[in-house]
């Protein structure tokens, strides 16, 4: 338990500028051992810059960080304590998976025999035991990602950084890889920083979330806290999404717009056909709780009009909504 409460990564006011352009404007967060932190943000938010600073590839313009008790002024010592799967890690084609991981084991100071035994164990852990003797050039994308994870674990790191590990994988591959991420945190007791654009997956595996927008932290805390915080906003309280059969969208829209507690109905952008965004009339005062049956009444109206209802979601109830809400300006 004590192990779980141990802080393995603390970032304090990290800043980075490329010439006059600031890329990171005061990043602060912490991560405990055995926990998974989702590191989110739209493209250009500063995620990769942050990861490269925390993995000592880049130097920050200001600020500091500590990894497993080692300050950022000792980069070589930090590299002994971290494992990294970069977003676009290249692999040599003419070596086998076993040779690849063994080589990195040796670079961390292991003897040839020890490094080979460690590599074999890690390949077993990541499900590549049967393909360890094959050339890396023959691996699929998913296998390469798992090989990259095995490489990242070769030094038994205190913190593992995974930058878009599920990118380009099929759904099954994504699921397997996320299970592997959970295994790293829970079984190996490492702190995991997971960068991903797959928000539903992040929501399902991450204990903590940091959302970056234009180089700044716009939300951080446990996943539940971040989602809960957004739900308490006006958007979270007064908007729902309804999924109806696509041929009935026009009828449903007319019907909903005629209801007294509906303020506006929109076709939800960026989603599958048939989704309608419904903005409800806000209570007269923020202290007044909204009518708890208002969603029932909307559904009742649709059922009576024999419009097939396929689904209903409370806007702001998912990490995706929070993400879009908080990073809207940056995306636009």
């Amino acid at each position: 338990m004590e192990q779980h409460n141990r802080q393995v990564l603390v970032a304090e006011d990290l800043r980075k500028s490329y010439g006059p352009r600031p890329a990171l404007r005061g990043l602060s967060f912490s991560l405990n051992a055995g926990r998974i932190l989702g590191f989110l943000g739209p493209n250009g938010a500063g995620k990769t810059t942050a990861i490269r600073i925390l993995t000592t590839i880049l130097e920050p313009s200001s600020g500091r960080f500590v990894v497993a008790g080692v300050g950022s002024d000792r980069p070589e010592e930090i590299r002994r304590r971290i494992g990294v799967l970069p977003e676009s890690l290249g692999f040599p084609k003419h070596v086998t998976g076993l040779e690849f991981v063994t080589y990195f084991g040796r670079l961390y100071g292991r003897t040839a025999g020890d490094a080979k035994a460690k590599a074999a164990a890690l390949l077993r852990d990541v499900g590549l035991e049967q393909r360890g003797r094959s050339l890396v050039g023959s691996y699929s994308r998913g296998m390469r990602q798992r090989l990259g994870i095995a490489r990242a674990l070769v030094n038994d790191p205190a913190v593992v950084f995974l930058d878009e590990p599920t990118l380009g994988l099929d759904p099954k591959g994504q699921q397997e890889l996320l299970a592997l991420v959970q295994w790293i945190a829970r079984e190996r007791n490492a702190g995991v920083v997971l960068c991903s654009h797959l928000l539903t997956e992040v929501e399902s595996v991450c204990d903590d979330v940091v959302i970056l927008s234009v180089g700044q932290v716009v939300a951080s805390g446990t996943t539940a806290e971040v989602i809960g915080g957004a739900q308490r906003t006006a958007l979270g309280q007064n908007a729902i999404r309804i999924h109806v059969a696509p041929p009935s969208v026009a009828d449903a829209r007319r019907l909903l717009e005629a209801l007294p507690n509906v303020r506006q109905v929109t076709t939800a952008n960026g989603t599958a056909p048939g989704w309608l965004g419904v903005e409800l009339v806000a209570p007269p005062h923020p202290a007044v709780s909204p009518d708890p049956y208002r969603n029932n009444r909307i559904l009742d109206a649709l059922i009576r009009a024999e419009i097939p209802v396929l689904g209903l979601q409370t806007a702001g109830g998912r990490l995706q909504d929070v993400f879009l809400q908080l990073t809207q300006g940056a995306i636009e």
Binding site: L58, R80, H94, R106, Y108, G109, D114, D156
Partner: protein, 466 residues
């Protein structure tokens, strides 16, 4: 006891290797370069070029009559030039190539110091040179035809190549260090290589004037070639020409300093060095220029009268191309006074080609001969050799030129009778016995590649060696 038990941050103990990490990086890079096939492919091309050059030297009737020491020198020069090119392009790929293949980041994320990464990569990238030089030795041996030139050729070739090949490797790596893509790195490296070759392409006068000589001496490619030609072809001493080795040595020192002391600690994911200090870069540039131009060349100048007669002991001769003709001339002073010093010059006229003059330099080791003044009634006998290079109909004759008495005097050259020389064609399929080497060299390398490929397959089937 070569290992120590240590515990990492997670507390799991493991046996720590005492092997330096540059050695581990070298091992991996060496394996990748040789087993991956890149070095062997380049060596195969190199062996083919060397085989073709050797065969051309021996088979072309013009060139086959070059003395063995010149053929050995030319082969050695070619081997070094191609060896340096291979070293340069392997070096040029070593860092930018890793950037392009996105494999550098993985390496930078390990606790290995940047300098150790660069040292390991450099040693691997420099490894093709010993193999390239070893391949050239049999070719030089067959072209030497037992001439004593072989030993100094091997000695000086090994010494100069062992300085220049690593320097060119380091130069390629230094370029690669500053490039994000392989295309840029290879393009710039190729440009630098052409720049080194360029002085040799200048017109003859531009190469022999003071400035031309300076250019030759500061250019490591030209200066080492000049040194080798003087030592191997002209049998001059090292003491006379050692200064021509300064440029290669200084280039090596400069590049090693720049790569290992200045650049390598700042190796990073993006091209260039972290926190470049321009003042140091400028200083290094100035030092390089001063060092290269500081070694001034030594140039030398050379300058040069009668009842004189000249006779030849041969009237005509029919020979095959590649045969040689030996004859003598007798210069007689039939006057009452001693003659001035005399120059006897050989001339060859092609009778088939409307009297074109043939350059005797290609046909004879002695284009001119010199005799001291002849006493009244005295004579001197001179021996000549003509190598029949090309088939055709020729007239060979000699001219005796008495040294003029001064700047405002002239003399009367005297011509001999001619030798009518008929050269008939002759070709051989296996000149000088080089054919087995010309064909065998590439085959041996090809078999080597196949054996390594087979060994690698077995190694993979057995789970990998490393």
């Amino acid at each position: 006891m070569s290992h120590a038990q240590v515990a990492n941050d997670s507390g799991a103990p493991f046996t720590r290797s005492r092997a330096p990490t540059w050695w581990i990086v070298f091992g991996r890079e060496f394996h990748e370069l040789w087993i991956g096939g890149r070095a062997l492919s380049l060596l195969l091309i190199y062996t083919l070029l060397l085989g073709i050059q050797t065969y051309v030297f021996a088979s072309n009737s013009e060139l086959s009559l070059i003395p063995p020491n010149e053929m050995v020198y030319e082969t050695l020069k070619g081997a070094i030039a191609v060896g340096l090119f291979i070293s340069l392009i392997i070096g040029a790929d070593s860092i930018s190539g890793e950037r392009e293949r996105a494999t550098l980041e993985g390496l930078l994320l390990t606790p290995t110091s940047r300098r150790q990464i660069v040292i390991g990569k450099f040693l691997a990238a420099a490894s093709p040179w010993p193999a390239a030089f070893a391949i050239a030795i049999p070719y030089m041996t067959v072209l030497a035809q037992g001439d004593e030139v072989l030993r100094p050729a091997i000695l000086w070739g090994a010494a100069i190549g062992t300085v220049l090949a690593p320097a060119f490797t380091a130069l390629g790596m230094f370029v690669s260090f500053w490039c994000n893509t392989n295309k840029t790195s290879l393009f710039i490296s190729l440009g630098i290589y052409i720049l080194f070759l360029l002085p040799a392409q200048l017109p003859g006068r531009a190469q022999t004037g003071a400035m031309g000589s300076l250019l030759q001496q500061v250019n490591p490619m030209a200066s080492h070639a000049h040194f080798l030609s003087k030592i191997l072809v002209n049998h001059r001493t090292v003491a006379e020409f050692w200064t021509w080795l300064l440029a290669p040595a200084l280039l090596a020192l400069l590049i090693f300093g720049l790569l290992f002391l200045y650049a390598s600690p700042g190796l990073r994911l993006e091209a260039g060095r972290a926190r470049l200090r321009w003042s140091w870069a400028r200083a290094a540039g100035v030092i390089a220029c001063l060092a290269l131009f500081g070694s001034s060349p030594a140039t030398a100048l050379q300058t040069a009268q009668q009842p004189i007669q000249v006779a030849i002991d041969l009237d005509y001769k029919v020979v095959k191309a590649s045969d040689h003709v030996l004859f003598s001339t007798v210069v007689t002073n039939s006057g009452a006074e001693p003659s001035p010093p005399l120059i006897v010059a050989m001339n060859i006229i092609n009778l088939n080609a409307k009297g074109d003059v043939v350059d005797p330099e290609d046909w004879s080791p002695q284009r001119t001969q010199y005799t001291e003044q002849l006493p009244a009634g005295g004579s001197a006998t001179l021996s000549w050799r003509i190598n029949a290079i090309l088939d055709g109909d020729y007239m060979v004759y000699m001219v005796v030129i008495p040294q003029p008495a001064g700047q405002e005097a002239t003399s009367h050259p005297v011509a001999s009778s001619g030798i009518h020389l008929t050269v008939t064609p002759f070709t051989r399929l296996n000149p000088g016995g080089v054919l087995p080497y010309a064909i065998g060299g590439p085959i041996v390398v090809l078999v080597g590649i196949l054996l390594i490929y087979r060994y690698r397959r077995r190694e993979i089937d057995a789970g990998g060696a490393r």
